[in-house]
Symmetry: C2
Subunit: 339 residues, 2 copies
């Protein structure tokens, strides 16, 4: 093997929104697998908002990426060499490969993929993001037909799964997305009943008016991907006994643009007065339900009841730019890097 392994490392901790100089491309020898390990050639890499948090040196639910270390993340690839029973060269697997052209993983920490599905689906609609939407609604949504669900980042891989599952369960679904094109996709591709372009609304008050029109019976489930202006807009529209699965706060990932107002007392009062349930959701707590998710959702993806959108960047060297653009809302669907 004369190939070199290429990887993207964390060169510097970002202050606010990441910039290209926070990353570095490094090259080195391809590692060899040890006992019970496999060597994978990565074909597809997943970019996800949670990775922004890993770039900070802050105690969180998962360790930070160290300076000089490979950026973390899930990938799909082909097995080149296997020292693990049950995997053979040529098998397609997924695992935590990091942002790299090759990875050596414990065979037990990979998952062999169904060869009949496009490999990139393991990173999106049938991977971590899709599972996040499914398990969050299942655990914390308490969906009832006739209720109304609002979700931000609605064409993204979590939001679009949430919206489609809610629609299939008989809920009215309202998408919030950035730009006219995403709003069109939300309705035409994912079947949302209404879609609101948050960029067309300067402040939370104006956005709230639009959500109120799209959700005339109030909001029973607000799937929280975003925080910020969207949270401020939706909170007063929540119905009594509403549920908020709290999955992300992307609006605040690059720092908080304070308006000098403490929004906590108002939100805390709404939770009390409306008897809301707020549930922090980290998908890693729920992996035991992943097989159930695949059993239920994979057939719906195969027959088109649940669909998905992907944005594909080509080449590992373009991963940082694609990641930076994604955090600014530049992507439409699931952001993939194809190697």
């Amino acid at each position: 093997m004369t190939d070199q392994m290429r990887r993207i490392t964390l060169a510097r901790r970002p202050s606010g929104a990441p910039v290209p100089e926070d990353f570095a491309l490094q090259t080195g020898p391809v590692p060899a697998p040890g006992a019970d390990e496999v060597l994978i050639e990565v074909t597809h890499l997943s970019l996800d908002p949670y990775m922004r948090g890993r770039m900070d040196d802050v105690k969180s639910y998962a360790p930070s990426v160290g300076l000089g270390e490979t950026m973390t993340g899930q990938g799909v690839g082909r097995v080149l060499t296997s020292n693990f029973d049950g995997l053979a060269p040529g098998d397609t697997v997924t695992g935590i490969t990091g942002w790299a052209s090759h990875a050596v993983l414990a065979g037990a920490e990979t998952r062999k993929l169904d060869p009949d599905m496009p490999p990139s689906t393991a990173l999106g609609v049938l991977g971590m993001p899709g599972f996040t939407g499914w398990v969050g609604l299942t655990e914390y949504g308490a969906m009832k037909a006739g209720e109304t669900l609002v979700v931000g980042a609605a064409t993204g891989p979590v939001g679009s799964m949430v919206g489609q599952l809610a629609r299939l369960a008989g809920l009215r679904t309202v998408a919030i997305a950035g730009g006219e094109e995403k709003c069109r996709l939300a309705q035409e591709v994912f079947g949302f009943d209404a879609a609101i372009d948050h960029r067309a609304h300067e402040d939370a008050r104006s956005l709230r008016k639009a959500v109120a029109e799209a959700a005339p019976d109030g909001v029973d489930i607000y799937w929280e991907n975003v925080g910020g202006k969207l949270l401020e807009a939706v909170m007063p529209l929540m119905n009594t006994h509403g549920r908020i699965p709290l999955c992300g706060t992307i609006a605040w990932y690059g720092g908080v643009a304070g308006d000098g107002i403490d929004h906590l007392p108002g939100v805390w009062r709404s939770i009390l007065v409306k008897r809301l349930k707020i549930s922090g959701l980290i998908v890693f707590d729920h992996w035991d339900r992943f097989p159930e998710f695949i059993t239920e959702v994979a057939p719906k993806v195969a027959d088109g009841q649940i669909t998905y959108l992907e944005d594909v960047a080509d080449g590992l060297e373009n991963a940082p730019a694609a990641f930076i653009a994604m955090l600014k809302g530049g992507n439409t669907g699931k952001q993939i890097v194809r190697l």
Copy 2:
């Protein structure tokens, strides 16, 4: 009957903390009960923090008190005249009498009390506040022996019930209270493992340090009675999968003293990262479980396993001053007005 009915009305909506001029004492004829109603002579009246919210003209979970109307509230009294099967003159009952010397209530909306228990217990430890603590822990606490619970306003009727139930369930219990005397009572009367005087701590950081020392394994359940500085202190100490039953935000009832910082993004991030569950709790949703509460807790009150403290103000005319003092933390236990 030559008695006059006396009542305390809402004379003016308070701005911030209520003042005596927001109330008026009015006198008029004693009303006569109609069909299926009873006339009650009120002997004990309950003062509770939620009443502050009813004085505002804001949409909430319960209607506001109108200007000139009797302040709302629960009382205990003796039946003088009964047109209701099952109640006779001399019976002791509780119901929503308002701040008044007499009340005419539908017999079906009263509850006949056990003559062997002190009547005022129906307003505190075996009434709405005690039930609030019990039902909130039962529904949202998911208590496990060995965990740690923190509660503010800990010598109050809700906080002391929460602390005692948690202790009986094998949890480590940490009281937050205002002043050395309340801290002493929290430990000596209610058996808290530790008690912290929030008045001895200027800011949230200092208070946090004290809570961290009292809760060396972190906080699994934070019973939220308070908001403000206490919430800010405790949030970073919450353990993964912690629970916060949100029962009140008394620190903010008189308005928010903003420090120019938006505390919402940090709290929202903590909920996500630590997978917390925040559950808004209004006791009125749970009355169907009241009989279960009495069955379980009344024997523990009778045999002293669960105890209580009362602050008694004498005379209806002193209810406003007692209420104003209570909102400032002037009371120690359950605030009662004895007529």
